[in-house]
Each structure stands twice: as C-alpha cells, then as structure tokens.
Symmetry: C2
Subunit: 365 residues, 2 copies
Amino acid sequence: MEDYKEYFPKSKKVYFDHATKSLPPSVSLINLKPSRNYNHSFSEIARSNQKLYLSIKSKLSQITGLNKDNIALLPNRNIALNLIFHSLKLNGQNTVITSISEDTSIITPMIKLFDISFFEKSDSEYTDIDILIYSCIDNITGQIKSFDKKNKDQIKIIDASFNLLTYNVKKHNADIIIAELSIDALSPLPLCMIFIGEAYAKLQNPFPSDGNIQSYNKNRYIFHNDISSMELGLIDYNVLHAFEKALDFSLQIGMKNIFDYKSSISKYLQSKLSHISNLSVLIFPHLQNDILSHLSIQVSNAHDINLLLDEISNIEVRSGELCSQIGISHYGLDNLIRISWHLSTSKNDIDYLIDELIRIFEILN
Amino acid sequence: MEDYKEYFPKSKKVYFDHATKSLPPSVSLINLKPSRNYNHSFSEIARSNQKLYLSIKSKLSQITGLNKDNIALLPNRNIALNLIFHSLKLNGQNTVITSISEDTSIITPMIKLFDISFFEKSDSEYTDIDILIYSCIDNITGQIKSFDKKNKDQIKIIDASFNLLTYNVKKHNADIIIAELSIDALSPLPLCMIFIGEAYAKLQNPFPSDGNIQSYNKNRYIFHNDISSMELGLIDYNVLHAFEKALDFSLQIGMKNIFDYKSSISKYLQSKLSHISNLSVLIFPHLQNDILSHLSIQVSNAHDINLLLDEISNIEVRSGELCSQIGISHYGLDNLIRISWHLSTSKNDIDYLIDELIRIFEILN
C-alpha cells in the first residue's frame, strides 16, 4: 500500500490545514445523514444515543488505551474545559500556568478566571503551581511537549489537545485530557472527548441535569457520580453515528500503521522542505523519531503565499496567528505558514505542495 | 380551513404526547438533512451558522415580541439553566422557590444548588425570596400560572417553560425565559432559547469561550458582553436550518390563527371528555378562555390504559409521573393520563381518542 487516498473522498483541493477542515474517511461521510426515524420519540432517541455513547467510548478506549469508564463526550472543547474548571472548583486563588504557544480556545476560558503565567522552555522552575494546562502537541511547531512532574505530585496536568491519536497517552502524564475529535480521530463534525484520571474521577458532577439522576424518592434525588454526569443533554445522533464509522476505520487500519504512515509523511515533507534553497526556515524541527502532525515555516509574505496557494494551486495551508496570538506575538513571528497532514495526505500531495511553493516563490521574487 | 393536517407528515400513530415527541411540519422535516457542503472548513460552517442564528433570533422575536438582541440559542434547557445560575452567581445563600408541579429537568439543577421551597396556590406569602423559577404553564394541569410580583421587585422570575407560543409573554412578568423550542415552536430536534431581560442583560458571559472574543491585543482580550456570550460552541447546522423552516411555517399561519385553533381544540376536547359518564376527572380545568396545551385526567389503571391505547389504537398519551415526581407524589396523583395537542391535532383525532378511550374503559370493566 502506497497511501490511503482511496479511503477518502475526492476533492478539488489539497488540504494541509487540519485546524479548520476535518478530513473524515468516505465511510464516515456516507453515514452523516439522518438515519433516525423521525417518528421516534425523544426518549427513543435518548436511548439510541446512549448506546452509541457506550460503543464510541469503548472504541476510543481501544485506540487510546484510556479506561472507557473515565471518558465522556461533549459538544466542544470550550464547554468541556469550562465544566472541568467548574467541577474542580478552580478559581482566582489557584496558580495556573500554560504554554506560550497555546491555542486561543484553551487560553480564553482561563483568562477570565485566573492570572495565568506562561511557561516557555524550562519547566523545572515551576514548583508552586496547582494546575498546568497545555496541548501536548505544540500549536506552532507541532513538536510534542512534556512537563516533568517529578516531585510535583500536587500539580494537576490538563492536556487540552487538538490531537489524540498521534501520541501514546501512556508516555505522557496528563491527569485530565480534553481532545477535539475532528482532527486525529476523524470525526466529520466538531465533537469533544474528555478523560478524567482516577485521582479526579470523583470530582465531577459539575452541572446537574435530569440525565444525571440515578434514583429519587419523595425527599431525595440521588445523582450519578460517574463521568456520565459531565454529559449534559444530547449530542446530535447523526454526528455520533458518523463518528463511530470513522473510529471503525481507524481501528481497521491499525494504530501502529497510522502512526508509521504519518511519521513517514512527516520525514518526507521535512526532507523536501530542506531542499528549497531560498526558504528561510525559522521554526523547523530537526528530523526526529517523534511524530509531528504539523510544522510551521517562516516565509516573507505568508498571507500572500497562502492566498496564491489557494487561488492558483488549490492548496489550503494556514497562515496568520494560528489561533496562538500570545505565542506568535511574544516571539514576533508574523510570517508563518503552518502545514499539517494526516492519513489522507499522500507523498504526491507533498510533491505538489513543494512544486507549487517553489513556483509561487518565483512569481513573488 | 378545517384543520392543519395537510402541513404535517402522515403518521401511523396519533400523538397526544408533546413531551416526548416533536411534531414538526413537513417543510421542516424535509430540510432536516445535511445541506452543507462538507468540503467547507470549520470557519465557513461557523460563519453560516452565525447567519442562521441571527435570522432565527429575528423570527423568534417576531413570534414572541421579545427583543431579538436579548435572545440566545443553546442546545438544551439544562445547559441553559445551569449557565444562568452560573452567570447570576446564584449559590446556596439565595432563597429560591419553585412550583410544586415543576418539571424534573428544571428542578434537578436547583436541587444541587439550593434548599428550595415549593409554592402551591397562594403566592402572597412569599416576600423574602430572591428567585422564583417555574414554568408558566403548569406541567400537570396545563393551566397558565402567574406570580404576583407587586412590591416584590427584588425577585427575579425565571420562566423555564416547555412552551413558548401559547402565551403572550408580555402578559407575563418573567425576567428570564428558558424555552424548549421542539414543542410549541415546532423544532424537529431539541433546541433551546434563552431570553434575558434588560435588567439582567449585562450579567452574562458565564463561561468564556473563544467565540466570545471581540478583540485582543498583546496583553488583553476583550470579550463580547452581549447575549451571544451565552452561546458556547456550535449547534448543528442541520437542526438550525430545519428549525428556521418551522418558524417560517408558524409565521405564515399567523400567531393569532395558531392561538385560536389550539384554543378551539382545547374546548372541543374538554367538552367531549365531559360527556364520558364514568370518567373520574380529578384534574380537569374549567372551560376558560385561557389557552391550554395539555390537560390531565385521572383514571383507574392509567398505565394499562396508556399501553392499550398504544397497542390497540395507535394512540400515544402520557401516563406515570409526567416528569413531575415531586408534585405527583405530593398530591398523591398516581393514575394520571396527560393529553396534549398542537396544530397537528384535528377534531377527528379527538373524536378517535374519545371513542378509543370509551372502548378501552369497556374492555377493562
């Protein structure tokens, strides 16, 4: 097998922008249609949704190695992060740090709640903190970040990542994980997973809802005290149904194969980029065994190049602030292009991107 | 025009249970399919959702007379009510009352937060309270409830109603309204509207999310301080699209016509029920000009009758605790059948229901 193109829908465009475009396999898109009988009552819908939730959690568990009983599904990362803050009773008294290149949608809920500090390279100086929130895959460079928790057991680590399948979560020491599922996990529409580790599993029930009631009698309601109490209201059945097909697809390809393929694409792209002679590469990770999902290059006129790639070449990349306004402005990086790839990316796509980049550099010079 | 049947999909069943079955017009169901081009990026989806939000708010404003700028859309009533509690910074110190026949999904979030009291008939004795939360249409009897706010300006009234279109919100003094849109407003899938009156309009921004950012610079993020800050994350485009068609339908029929038609159905049903000689009617509102959406009758073996109506007659009604466990148990009402109706209900449907009820009473006696 050369690549996985045949499993993805044909498209006029070549996408190297995972942050704004989900690239689900065809088998998932085909299932993204109302398959429910609309004569069903809400309770029937709720029951079939419940089955899907359980099946999806079990498959997410197979893929990540995380305990399925500690996984909840929510509509998006903002609701998830806010619920976790609420559940952990975090407030302005807590010392919080986050990484300088963090994604805006992660930083935003914190800005209102905390005086946050940013860590850059060394993590050893941070001792007197309660919570660290960051995406384990750097939003700008694509490199895997880690935080040395040694002798810092009191710190809760929340990984609010865009990525899920490209790293082995066991290698990594998050207590709580918030993962958008439309990127690595191939959901065709936004969907979010939260994982709450054993140490914090009993802290939830952040927002009571009628779905949380386990039993009641005349004077007393008893609530579930498991992760399902995080799941407020229904997520659309069609999204869940289509997402399950995407999970089946990933399980069928096999996680090791996905990892190896993305790693080979990563190396191929880095090697190709290193041969462009007049490319001023500022953020450019060294070739390494660790898998990358994306990388950024610094060029002059990033925005013009982005537009020309789109209009002339039908290629989508990302330029601008990469949803990392604080990091971008801190480092003075105003001319970045971010390139991301997935199983749907082929070596032919990379060849085409490199050819078109060179062509556009020539037009602009 | 005799009735509005032609605008609704044909169904094997006759539904008299609005709490578990949405009955949208055909024009809405037809539009409940993925109409979005899935080659669109998330930002394109977000932009088209944004347009739909504005259009829907404007139409909800036409229908309710509420200011469109004070309306927000959320996935469900539990998220909405929790967000409002959070936004108003309500806690265990607040004195809260609610009605005895309240819906469980409204009571549940309160149970965890407050020592709540229940009001029954007279509201004059309540002076030392902060918040009153109730559905303006009684969950058991279907009658319109009101609370006399005279000289009690400090009380915030939150109407957490299942109903929206059957009452004129101007007659009624809620400061905040939470309305499920799948019943009266004919949304084919669960969807929720919140309205926050002028007095509290600036209290929101309960949960910051990246969609709330108005502008930022290096050191500071400025957030929207309007109702849109309540809208965390996207509601599925297809649901919104189909709901807008349902609103267009209601506007086309005209609110006065809808009101008059439902009122005539209500009177017709009450008159028919009053002629069943051996029906022990305990909860049975007197004929009145106020519109009813549903009413409850007390029968022996409510659950058996419910099952027989379903199996023999293809009629769905609701029996059991009607999601009002506290009121039902307080009043000792254990054999209720609740009958609800809408524009999709015809006088023929009522005739059929009455005939089948009589037939089943005869079978059981």
